[in-house]
Symmetry: D2
Subunit: 418 residues, 4 copies
């Protein structure tokens, strides 16, 4: 694979630059805050992805490499127990130092070392780990958007990120369903030439029954009907854990999607460009799996399984509303046929995040990347409007807890086909 | 189904009597305590199963039936939002009234009404709901044991329940594995003549790969090796949520199964007959799925899926160490071949508790019985030493959270067959 | 003091019997529950006061005395770190064993040993410690009532204790104030012939300004006016910590005294004889110092200091509505002049519970009895309707946290005299 | 008082400039963080003190004044319920906007309006409220230091504030005590020409017994002896609430003053100039009242009352190590006689923060300034090394919870004089 060396350097530079570019519209203050444990400060993201290259590549493959700063080994370790201790996640927003400028300096230092390494060593292992590091950084590019949105969206001033394109108009077509034939299908991928995470392997047979999938995501307007029908306060629509959560939250119990705000008689929605009047044609976003499940039950339907989704997507081209569009928001599905399997919003499935039969984690410390999270979470599929297009694949498995709402997540309905 | 009427009365009386018999060795004080939210007081169990018959049968099918006591409608409703409000679960142990004697009086009142109903109305719906009520009461008979054990096992006096038979001796044979051929199998049952819960339906095809199953449960002695190898403190063996739990628990972090107590150089184990020296030949019990998973990973293996378990059990007779033995504790597997798929201990699977394809909850308020719990829990299979034998089936799906330890739960290893 | 020996035995027997008599109307279940951490089970009280005699007297003064049961040394230690570990207070209600019967047996065993000791050794130290133990037991006799009331009063069935006398009628006279001359007064007592707790010593001078004291407690009817004037929701009336508590409690924020229940247009009040229509002539009870302070501010007045209270009480006879009346509830003040300084309800003062100048705790382990609580609490004075009359003194200082409501506590207004 | 107008403008400008000057060495990131609820971000302090002038002065006295930004009315309201809602204190550190630059713009806007007002209206009420606003801003100048120290001191990088002078050397003299004659003294001040907070009034008589006061603060070296004698783990030395806190904190239980760090065999101490080797001659600082009380008990002494402190200080000049020195840290007491009553460190007293007899809060919304905190806190006296000298008075009462450690607080011993 040595011939890939040159182009990998270019990829490396492009992906690394993209992270900094995303932050370009920010004020220094915006790099710093962590409004909930899940939403890390942008400064931390910029440093952590750098730590990843330093820890897993420079320390292993550059003889005599000395870490840029000893304390960063703990401060910017996310969850790799095999590497060492971690600064508590919930306190990332309490560190005013290192400054943004110091973090950018850290990035430059690591980039210089990485480029020197790429010139001298393009072994398969180095190439693989760098490629992994770039996919890792792309994941954090998406998190930069979700975490910034949480920061801005919870600020009474509702500031704009000032980095998004103007949203296109367009009306959603009436919802229709496409039927799929049951049978034995193959899903997942085998490790090989194309990069994939360990959790997508191995490729294996699954048995699927006849099913139907909605040809677009549920819209704000459709979700509003659920709200108007008291959907949020009818226990028969909700999973038990969701109803318990509702009672735990008390006055803060959910009554609408995360970024909606009741305003007079109607709703506004916070977007990365600021508050807008809630647009009924846009896909409903920032809903938890609990809300998606309750909505589906209210409709007499269900969420798809991840197997069904992957079966359906095999007929699709990988096009859609990805980060490259710069909208930072889902847009209405305007075309006929199956829409938006890719991009726009991550689609909650009813499938718990579990190992595929024969799953093997990445070797060594990188085995903690995905495998240890295979409990209590659900799979989401397809990428979103803030996912880089080059990052997504048919077999790509994203995963979050059923109650999480700050990702760009939406609802696709499914039902059995009798 | 009218001909079943007579025998259903007998069944009814037998099951109802069994609940009271289980409590016979108790002191009045023992009926009252709730040492954790999950472990309800025996008094509450005795009343709640009675409430079930009153609420779902007497109120619907006996014209003019008046509830025994209005406040019981809330006090003894467990989780049926469709029926009405519930007294908070965490506070069940704070109610000194009604007394045990009043609860027994409540049982007698409802029993008399039920028997009168059975004489006059044996419609299919009544028969079904009574049968459901009896299976429901059998579930709570098992919970009487698990909750009492939690009560006694957390009391420094370590009292004996005084109702168990003397445990048999016996040595565990060395662990061996049985291989199973992959392919398409049928699991689950269709609603029909034989009673089953809604979550076991419909019967459907599943695709299973070649696999091997340990021919007995993991023993205390084998689990001790894991402990001695620092298994509890090596993060690479644990799921992320388990490791987070460990850190949350601080000084109370797990270092052994729930009822073990470090005593000098060795361990004692609390059983319902009191403290005993930990017996290395007995199956290890009262471990969470997290511990089961960590143990399996340490062995280079994994937990079975519920599909694999049900495939394997199809060749087995329904015999084993059930509640009828009166041991209240798992016993060593002494025979050759596949042991203990039934009885002894519930076996953690790696399968999340999810709806089978085509799942339909019971109609009406009883739809809350099982369906709403299909999130964040794992399936356990096979029943335990405190499960009534008549209660279990090959398709029976029990479910608890991965961190739960107070059930009679154990570990069966599995691995892929290459 | 040897001549007191005989009469001390009689006192001992009388006080010990009184504890058991208070529990006589209870069902076994009532001995067991602990509906909040502060409210211990009656069974625990009966055992703890016994542990007190065993620990501080029998172990020290009876050669070769062996504890009745080793585990009780931890189970029934309340807070004496100098003695050893304590079973967690919050879990007292989770111990179904020892049973009530076993606890009564423990009492008999200790009583027999104590009486034997009294026959053989009536040294000053023994006499003092027994006297202390009896005052200690009287404190717990009051707690038996307060904790039982919390148990019953939080049970939806609102059971009656069945041990109280029928309340007398009577109308409260209009509120009037008595003026007191400022100057230097003496309060407290010096250790000596009359028993007193260490926290009442030494007797010392205090400087008091002219002040006026209400001649009776605030009534339910007067407190209702505060409620109707939105007193509970006007922040300007409340101390900051009280307002913060209100926000922490959310939906459970206080809107009336602890045992009132909104019923239709009016209020009911739980008493130890069950629910009654709220009686506007009775003193308002089970209010916190925060509520007392807010009420006083609403009236443009303040709470008395403990110095003012003790100055005022010096002119009073020790008569009032004490436990001996058997009402278990405060009664209207019907006479002219200063009423109820003694009995009826403990009166919140604005004085923090602090050491008197020159304060010396009891020597040894008993030094933990009072001294270590001298932070963050307020002093209450005068005793209540469930305090034994022989237990109270002018110098008696009770103390609770400003937010506590489950004691029989009420409000006496004061104001400056200009 | 009109003639003060000119000089009040000068004072206004000087105090306002001082706040900005304190922040001059900071990076933008440092303005933003809130490492615990108590420690607000510098940006918030700069805005809140400005909000104070806008809310209580400009809105009342400048006809037609329009708030700089509507949302600031909530964002920068600290605790004035009478003014309106408050953004939750615990979330101040989650607001990346307004930026530092916008907050400075807000300051300029308000300053311009204030100076215009001072030119046109110097009524007594305006003068009083501006003076109050300036004292308020001085309080927040001290909090800027304490909160920054908490931020930096909890950062593993232990950054320096870079704004402090080099500490002087010097050895502490052996501890000696000065005796004071008991009697009736006057403390407090009456509202009048000299500014004072409402909580210092009225001037009134207090009765004090003979007492002795240590002539300097307890040093690090002396406090180390307490640590070496297992002071932190001996329950007999601690108040009950402190010991409970210790058990709640578990592994985080205190084992040394807040900013000490165990380093090899010895201790380092974080100062605003970074980590230094713990200097045994410096006064021990950042201890809670619980630690101060335990230390005093270990010495067989006690903390002074606030009355004793104010009696003692009446003989002293107001000199000491104040903010003007720029040390940002306490320095050794080197002189003979009574040292450091002023400056260096706030001195914990054993006096709860309570209203003086005849206390009247400031009228109107400003009544919330001090009065509502008169519960559950203790008084500290004398000012510290980060208190502006012009801010302190003999009658000045500072107040914090007994468990608070992040203020510049220290220990002065006292004992009775027999």
């Amino acid at each position: 694979m040595k011939s890939i060396g040159v182009s990998l350097s270019e990829q490396y530079l492009a992906v690394r630059k993209q992270s900094v570019d995303i932050c370009q519209p920010l004020e220094i203050e915006d790099y710093q805050v962590q409004p909930m444990t899940d939403a890390s400060p942008p400064k931390w993201h910029l440093a952590h992805v750098t730590w990843f290259f330093e820890t897993f590549i420079l320390k292993s493959f550059v003889p005599g490499y000395r870490p840029f700063e000893r304390s960063y080994e703990v401060l910017f370790n996310s969850y790799y127990n095999g590497v060492g201790n971690q600064f508590p996640r919930s306190r990332r927003g309490t560190l005013s130092r290192p400054t943004v400028s110091e973090v950018l300096h850290y990035r430059e230092h690591v980039d210089a070392s990485m480029l020197a390494l790429l010139d001298s060593d393009a072994s398969d292992e180095v190439v693989f780990k760098i490629t992994l590091g770039l996919h890792h950084e792309q994941q954090h590019q998406e998190l930069l958007f979700t975490d910034l949105k949480y920061n801005f969206g919870n600020n009474p001033l509702a500031p704009s990120y000032n980095g998004c394109q103007i949203l296109p108009g367009g009306h959603s077509e009436p919802l229709a369903f496409s039927g799929y034939q049951g049978g034995v299908y193959q899903i997942g991928v085998d490790a090989g030439n194309e990069f994939a995470f360990d959790n997508e392997s191995p490729r294996h047979d699954v048995l699927v029954r006849d099913f139907a999938l909605a040809d677009r995501l549920v819209t704000n307007g459709e979700f509003l009907e659920f709200i108007m029908d008291d959907g949020y306060s009818r226990p028969e629509l909700w999973l038990s854990d969701a109803w318990t959560l509702r009672q735990t939250l008390g006055e803060d119990a959910w009554t609408h999607p995360l970024y909606w705000r009741l305003q007079g008689d109607g709703y506004e929605e916070y977007t990365l460009s600021g508050l807008q009047t809630m647009n009924p044609d846009q896909p409903v976003c920032h809903v938890s799996a609990y809300e998606a499940d309750a909505y589906a039950r209210w409709k007499g339907m269900r969420l798809p399984t991840e197997m069904e989704w992957e079966v359906a997507v095999q007929k699709q081209e990988k096009t859609g509303n990805f980060a490259e569009n710069g909208y930072c928001h889902p847009i209405p599905a305007t075309g006929p046929g199956m829409n938006e399997l890719y991009g726009n919003l991550w689609e909650w499935t009813q499938s718990s995040y579990a190992p595929y039969p024969g799953f093997k984690p990445f070797p060594g410390q990188l085995g903690e990347y995905n495998g240890k999270f295979m409990a209590n979470q659900l799979v989401l599929r397809g990428g979103s409007c803030v996912t880089p297009q080059s990052h997504i694949r048919p077999s790509y498995r994203n995963f979050f807890y059923a109650g999480d709402r700050w990702q760009f997540s939406g609802i696709r309905l499914a039902h059995d086909q009798d």
